[in-house]
């Protein structure tokens, strides 16, 4: 199957500084792909090359099999680009902004009005479409910013930090909308500072640092890179010492430690599935009154691979 968006060997240098080196990945139809990296890692440079704003020093970009360098207009017609900033005209209304970009991107006049209504409905701004953009809240502007990229029904939507500075309600609306789009078969390339957004929206994730992709895979594959053991916190009532001795012998438990008079911490494989066996094991000695299973997450993987927090 032809990838909706594929790049290979992308390189961009500014003098002696290498912004991006040998970046490559592939996004299948209907796949949501996340690009994670700290500030200055090369995310925006990569995206700029993918949408044709920067000419790479080396490497290729294929959009639905079309070489971006050889046939940029055809390739770009399949891309919806949502820049990091609100790239819209503040003196125009939301609807006028959409109409401008719709016409610019070649939508026929006859179908444009209907398509604008569809997009407004999708981003939940039908009732505010005729207000000037400079009267919108940050979240509403973000949503119109995304809407302008959807007008020409692109095959792949490229979003560069689309939720920066928005309120939780708008963020939820944006993420809900993106999940709908992916559900309808649109491919997605998503960069964000918010790990939970990437974890929620994306099927596959690449971690980029110092201009290079240092890890790539599904969420589970990435997490497995730093080990798959879960942390299980138990609170016990009864003979805690005897219960602790029993818990250490349960199959799957790698490590155990007393963390208090009534609490025990276990390191185990597949912690969530192990809970019934743990509860059964302490029967007769103690009762489990509270449990907490902490699974390793992408944030931990990110920290492990880059040595820095995503928000640094």
């Amino acid at each position: 199957m032809t990838a909706t968006l594929a790049c290979e060997g992308l390189r961009k240098r500014y003098g002696d500084v290498t912004a991006v080196e040998d970046v490559g990945f592939s996004i299948a139809p209907g796949q949501a792909y996340g690009l994670l990296g700290p500030n200055g890692a090369g995310k925006t440079t990569t995206i700029s090359m993918l949408v044709g704003l920067l000419r790479p020093d080396a490497g290729t970009v294929l959009v639905g099999g079309t070489d971006l360098a050889a046939d940029p207009r055809r390739a770009k017609a399949r891309i919806g680009y949502v820049p990091q900033e609100i790239a819209l005209y503040p003196e125009l209304t939301g609807r006028e902004n959409l109409r401008f970009f719709g016409r610019l991107f070649g939508l026929a006049r006859r179908g444009l009005a209907g398509r604008i209504e569809e997009v407004l409905d999708l981003i939940g701004l039908s009732d505010r479409a005729d207000g000037r953009l400079d009267t919108y809240s940050g979240g509403m502007r973000r949503r119109i910013n995304i809407g302008a990229a959807l007008l020409h029904r692109p095959d792949v939507l490229i979003l560069d930090e689309p939720t920066v500075g928005v309120d939780p309600q708008s963020r939820k609306a944006i993420l809900d909308g993106l999940e709908l789009l992916v559900g309808d078969g649109m491919s997605l390339l998503y960069t964000s500072h918010y790990m939970e957004e990437v974890e929620r929206v994306c099927d596959r994730v690449a971690i980029i640092d110092h201009g290079r992709i240092i890890a790539e895979g599904t969420r589970r594959e990435l997490i497995a890179m730093v080990g798959s053991a879960d942390k299980i916190e138990l609170v016990l009532d009864g003979d805690v010492e005897a219960a602790y001795a029993k818990l250490r012998t349960v199959e799957g438990v790698i490590e155990a430690a007393r963390t208090g008079a009534e609490s025990v911490r276990l390191i185990a494989e597949g912690g969530r599935y192990l809970l019934p066996a743990l509860i059964s094991a302490v029967e007769g000695s103690a009762t489990v009154t509270a449990t907490q299973v902490i699974e390793p997450d992408l944030e931990a993987t990110f920290l492990h691979l880059t040595g820095t927090s995503l928000r640094d």
Partner: protein
């Protein structure tokens, strides 16, 4: 792609009209300033006084007739003074020193040569500092040429008829063929008058053309700041669309602006800028050059604020040295040479020529300045496109 360009143009025009910059910069300010300057300083210019050098190496009837005619002319009385000079070299020195505005040089044997039907050459020395004196000398020599032609023709005819050479002169004059008597045109000064309202009207038009077209190219930098330029470039449109879309509107508004200045000057002061087709051609060429120069500025600066500053400096420098603020003849000689480096200098020269020539002017008469303006546009525009490729296009 044309549809995409028209979409950009439509938004640009709408924005310029909505924020009022189009009306204010293109119409209200230049027309108001030109009118105020015209009212305050308008009138015939340069002052109707000129000294014409007179070099008579011939001492024959032609120079005598010219002297007589000039001194007798009612139109020239009090305005033109003849100053005798011993030779052409002295006349040149006096001209360079500004002591005379032009000179007419009759070579030795001129009258005799004409009388014998061999014609003759009269030299006219002029200076751009005194267009009036040049016009007077030119008018006089035009009349001399007509008389010489008539006399030469008559002599040839008589000789062909078999009249002996020694009787030719007597026969020609007796039979009324134009002799050395010379009559000046009704108003030899008519071609030399250029009302200051024309200078200032055309000057303001030339100056504000830069601001009008510059605002559109500045808009490209504003769009880059907003991020909308990148958004357009990331879409399925050709790279030249945003530049061309805005440039077309800037150029169109620039042409409207200069034409409004021209129309208002003509209507308010009742003056003429000369042949309309030629004037329009000069103005369009000027706007083209201004568009290319401001595009070059936009391609070389980083922000719209920088563009504002640089365009303002470029506009005023070109306007000052190019005769848009001060008539060229009022500038010292070295600065007049600098004028030729500015589009305004060529525009001012062409429009002054057309205004001075009145109905006799034509596109052909100002083809040189128009050509130079187009060359400036080509050079600046080409350099700008190369600059855009590095920053705004690719």
């Amino acid at each position: 792609m044309w549809r995409a360009m028209l979409t950009v143009s439509a938004l640009e025009l709408r924005t310029r009209l909505r924020d009022g910059t189009a009306i204010v910069i293109a119409v209200i300010v230049p027309v108001t300033l030109a009118t105020l300057f015209g009212l305050a300083l308008g009138g015939d210019d340069p002052p109707l006084r000129a000294t014409v050098g007179f070099v008579d190496l011939d001492h024959g009837e032609f120079p005598a007739s010219v002297r007589r005619e000039v001194l007798a002319s009612e139109e020239l009385k009090g305005a033109v003074t003849l100053r005798d000079l011993p030779g052409e070299e002295q006349a040149r020195r006096a001209l360079d020193a500004g002591e005379i505005g032009s000179a007419i040089v009759f070579p030795a044997g001129f009258s005799q040569s004409v009388g014998a039907g061999r014609g003759g050459d009269v030299a006219v020395l002029t200076s751009p500092e005194s267009p009036l004196a040049g016009v007077v000398a030119g008018a006089v020599v035009d009349r001399i040429s007509a008389v010489v032609d008539a006399r030469t023709l008559a002599v040839h005819a008589v000789l062909l008829a078999g009249v002996p050479g020694e009787r030719v002169k007597e026969l020609v004059e007796r039979n009324g063929a134009a002799g050395p008597a010379l009559t000046l045109a009704e108003d030899p000064l008519s071609g030399g008058k250029v009302d200051l309202s024309v200078y200032y009207g055309s000057g303001m038009a030339a100056l504000f053309a830069f601001f009008v077209v510059g605002a559109s190219f500045r808009g490209l930098l504003t769009e880059r700041k907003l991020g909308t330029l990148d958004r357009i470039r990331a879409g399925p449109v050709a790279a030249w669309v945003p530049v061309a879309g805005k440039g077309v509107v800037g150029f169109g508004l620039g042409v409207v602006s200069v034409c409004v200045c021209w129309a208002s000057s003509t209507l308010i002061f009742g003056t003429t800028w000369g042949d309309p087709v030629a004037v329009f051609a000069v103005l369009v060429a000027h706007v083209l050059a201004a568009a290319a120069i401001t595009m070059l500025v936009a391609s070389r600066v980083r922000t719209d604020a920088q563009a504002d500053g640089v365009i303002m400096v470029v506009s005023f420098v070109a306007a000052f040295f190019g005769g848009s603020l001060v008539p060229l003849y009022d500038l010292p000689e070295p600065l007049r040479a600098v004028a030729l480096l500015t589009p305004n200098g060529w525009t001012s020269t062409a429009l002054t020529e057309l205004a001075g020539a009145g109905a006799a002017g034509s596109v052909g008469a100002v083809a040189g300045p128009i050509g130079v303006l187009c060359a400036i546009a080509l050079a600046a525009g080409g350099t700008a496109v190369a600059g855009f490729r590095k920053g705004l296009l690719l």
